[in-house]
């Protein structure tokens, strides 16, 4: 399968009440939700999105925003009043019930908020339920269910009843049941909302691990923005039945589409969502090891900074030099920068969340270097930038923002030194 779109929703509407079709017709003609409330309730209004294969797509909204209705249209538990849903390239809106059941068996499974396990069946029979419905033989499905039970960490509980398990374990059964069905798409309806915060975090982490391992497409519904930000490759924010913004967690955080989203995201733990790459600044004071101390000193003077980033000849990040050290080196007439490179300069990967940068930033006034896996210098994060990003304030407050440690030696002194050493150099 080369299809990259796993699930596609196109102009979906869902209305409840006495005359749903009329509600949708009026909404399309531009009526507001309140104007049509006498005819029925528009639960989902004009929702369009595409979910790529292998992606975690989070639909986030408060209760009553229509997210549960939306997810139930994606596997046909609720009929869309208008619009189409496509799963694995196959439209599922308006198809006969038998065909729809076939799609559910093969392409799309679901995890429920309150687990929805069959209470009269053992854990293993619950996990094997999807396979049973698919018509798989008993021995085969139990063998497969056993591997899934191991995968979700329920070893030794296979013959227990759901009521003998804690909430977190019950949801592992729910997750196992969906995974065992071996569908490409997993719908998760507030799957972790009924769990304790600690267990929830654990389940979130496990879900990400499983997703990386199995490459499932996951559509996750939640009202918890932190959960959305943690899990989502992309997030759709819903309000009053409409999708108000779709974007990556960082896009939503840094560029909210409207005041509602902005207000929503202001309480998010930004340190865990924003990554080094999203806040880093371009590097200005850069020298190469071959450039020599005089070039380094000149660059530091030009940028009025006390430190410069040093690159090896192959472009990889070598470390940082301080202006004092360079000055001494120049005065001593030494041409090799490598002897004074500070090896303890902190470098992080572009994916590192900001929370991991706080401690190194406190310990050293040097900017933190952001390097990729080939050690190439992508950018730097000065302490000021980090603070601004965490506090959600713009760094562009003035024409010349002070974002690097100020020079500790005066410009005239550097110039003087450069001139003197230049003469010496000429004399030699």
């Amino acid at each position: 399968m080369t299809e990259t779109i796993a699930v596609k929703a196109d102009r979906l509407y869902k209305a409840f009440g006495r005359r749903p079709h009329e509600v949708v017709k009026k909404m399309k003609a531009g009526s507001s939700r309140d104007e049509v409330s006498s005819l029925g309730t528009a639960a989902v209004i004009d929702a369009s999105f595409e979910v790529h294969r292998g992606e975690i797509f989070v639909v986030m909204g408060l209760s009553g925003s229509g997210k549960s209705t939306l997810i139930r249209m994606l596997n046909g538990l609720l009929d869309a009043t208008s619009g189409t849903v496509t799963v694995a390239g196959q439209p599922i809106t308006g198809i006969p019930a038998a065909q729809l059941r076939d799609v559910r068996r093969k392409n799309i499974s679901m995890v429920f908020q309150h687990f929805a396990l069959l209470p009269h069946r053992s854990v293993i029979d619950n996990v094997a339920y999807g396979l049973e419905v698919q018509g798989m033989g008993r021995e085969e499905r139990l063998a497969k269910a056993r591997t899934i039970i191991r995968l979700v960490g329920l070893d030794g509980w296979a013959d227990s009843l759901p009521s003998e398990l804690s909430g977190g374990m019950q949801q592992r059964v729910g997750l196992g049941r969906a995974l065992a069905a071996d569908t490409d798409v997993l719908l998760m309806d507030e799957a972790f909302s009924a769990l304790d915060p600690l267990i929830r975090r654990e389940m979130q982490e496990q879900l990400i691990e499983l997703q990386a391992e199995l490459g499932k497409t996951i559509i996750f519904i939640t009202h918890d923005l932190n959960e959305a930000m943690f899990l989502g490759d992309r997030i759709a924010v819903m309000r009053d039945g409409r999708i108000v913004q779709i974007g990556t967690p960082e896009e939503i955080l840094t560029d909210p589409a409207n005041d509602y989203v902005a207000q929503f995201v202001q309480d998010v733990d930004r340190a865990r969502v924003l990554t080094a790459a999203s806040v880093m600044e371009p590097v200005r004071a850069v020298v190469t090891t071959t450039g020599g101390p005089r070039a380094a000193l000149r660059i530091m003077r030009d940028f009025q900074t006390s430190a410069a980033f040093v690159l090896n000849r192959d472009g990889s990040f070598a470390g940082v030099v301080r202006d004092r050290d360079v000055l001494k080196l120049v005065k001593a007439g030494d041409a090799d920068l490598r002897s004074i490179i500070l090896g303890d300069a902190v470098s992080v990967s572009p994916d590192a969340p900001l929370v991991e940068l706080v401690e190194p930033s406190v310990e050293s006034d040097l900017a933190i270097a952001v390097v990729d896996e080939k050690k190439r210098l992508l950018g730097v994060i000065p302490r000021v930038t980090l603070l601004a990003a965490l506090g959600n304030v713009s760094t562009n407050t003035g024409d010349l923002p002070v974002i690097e440690p100020a020079a500790t030696i005066s410009v005239s002194m550097i110039t003087e030194t450069l001139r003197e050493t230049a003469l010496e150099g000429a004399a030699l």
Binding site: N75, R101, S109, M110, Q113, A116, H120, G130, Q134, D159
Partner: protein
């Protein structure tokens, strides 16, 4: 104005007459079938010596509730033998069993239908109200006309009277199954029939069993009334004692009814909880064999 009168009674009477004339063969068939079923069950209960039945009942009691219930059952049934009502009691039990089984056989599908379809529910509910609140004696009249004197009009009247709680509680039980669990069945592509069989019925079972319990209890109360149309059994003695103002006979026959009622009620109630001593033993054995299999 005083001349005004709704001729409802006459209309119903004409209707019954018409039915008797038109569908007589049909009612003859039902009569034969119900009568045959009753005779068979009655034969099975009356033929063996009383102690065989008591032992069987005691075994049932032990399996469903434990030894206390077993002792109670033995004592109760022995009292029935002691007041010389054993044969009557077995006749009545046969009547209750046949009527209950038939009432349950009709009420379960109706209850399922009512749970699945709101339209069906809206149609069935007032009919049930009618069946349940109409004085029970009234059913006896058309039943008597259609099926003639004997056991069958008693069974038919009993079925009609006792069906309602079976339908109601089946509907209630199925509608009360956690929506999310039903959705889970749907989400994994299960057919409606499979959802009914594997999810809705098992989860509704305690409520449905409560309904079945009620059906049996109502059957028992009705078969006594059915004694008036010649259904025999304990009902016949109760009616006879009423006619003769015979306190002794009335008390003995009535006591036998009470003992039967308590036995049947406790028995079916235990089945409804799904937690019986026999069930526990079977579950433990199953678990052991599974563990042996897994090891």
């Amino acid at each position: 104005m005083n001349d005004f009168r709704l001729p409802l009674g006459t209309i119903v009477e004409g209707f019954i007459d018409w039915i008797t004339d038109t569908f007589g063969f049909f009612f003859d068939f039902i009569r034969a079938a119900f009568d045959g079923a009753y005779e068979l069950v009655d034969f099975l209960l009356v033929t063996p010596p009383f102690w065989v039945i008591i032992v069987l009942a005691a075994g049932l009691a032990l399996a469903t509730r434990g030894w206390k219930f077993m002792v109670g059952t033995i004592l109760g049934l022995t009292v029935i033998v002691g007041v010389d009502q054993w044969e009557n009691a077995m006749d009545t039990l046969a009547l209750v069993l046949v009527a209950s089984v038939l009432a349950i056989a009709f009420s379960l599908p109706l209850g399922i239908l009512a749970a699945k379809s709101t339209v069906a529910s809206n149609i069935i509910r007032p009919i049930l109200d009618f069946m349940q609140t109409m004085p029970a004696f009234v059913y006896l009249i058309p039943a008597l006309i259609l099926f003639r004197v004997g056991v069958v009009p008693g069974i038919v009247a009993t079925i009609i009277f006792a069906m309602a709680p079976g339908v109601r509680l089946t509907e209630l039980g199925i509608r009360g199954v956690d929506r999310e669990v039903v959705e889970a069945g749907q989400a994994f592509g299960a057919s409606p029939w499979r959802i009914l069989r594997q999810i809705q019925l098992p989860l509704a079972m305690p409520t449905i069993m409560a309904g079945i319990n009620q059906v049996i209890m109502l059957s028992l109360s009705m078969v006594v009334i059915a004694g008036m149309v010649g259904a025999g059994g304990l009902g016949a003695d109760v009616v006879a004692s009423l006619n003769r103002i015979d306190v002794a006979l009335g008390f003995e026959a009535g006591l036998a009814v009470v003992i039967l009622a308590i036995f049947l009620d406790r028995l079916t109630a235990a089945l409804g909880t799904g937690d019986t001593p026999l069930g526990r033993i079977l579950a433990a054995r199953k678990r052991r064999s599974q563990q042996a299999l897994a090891a």
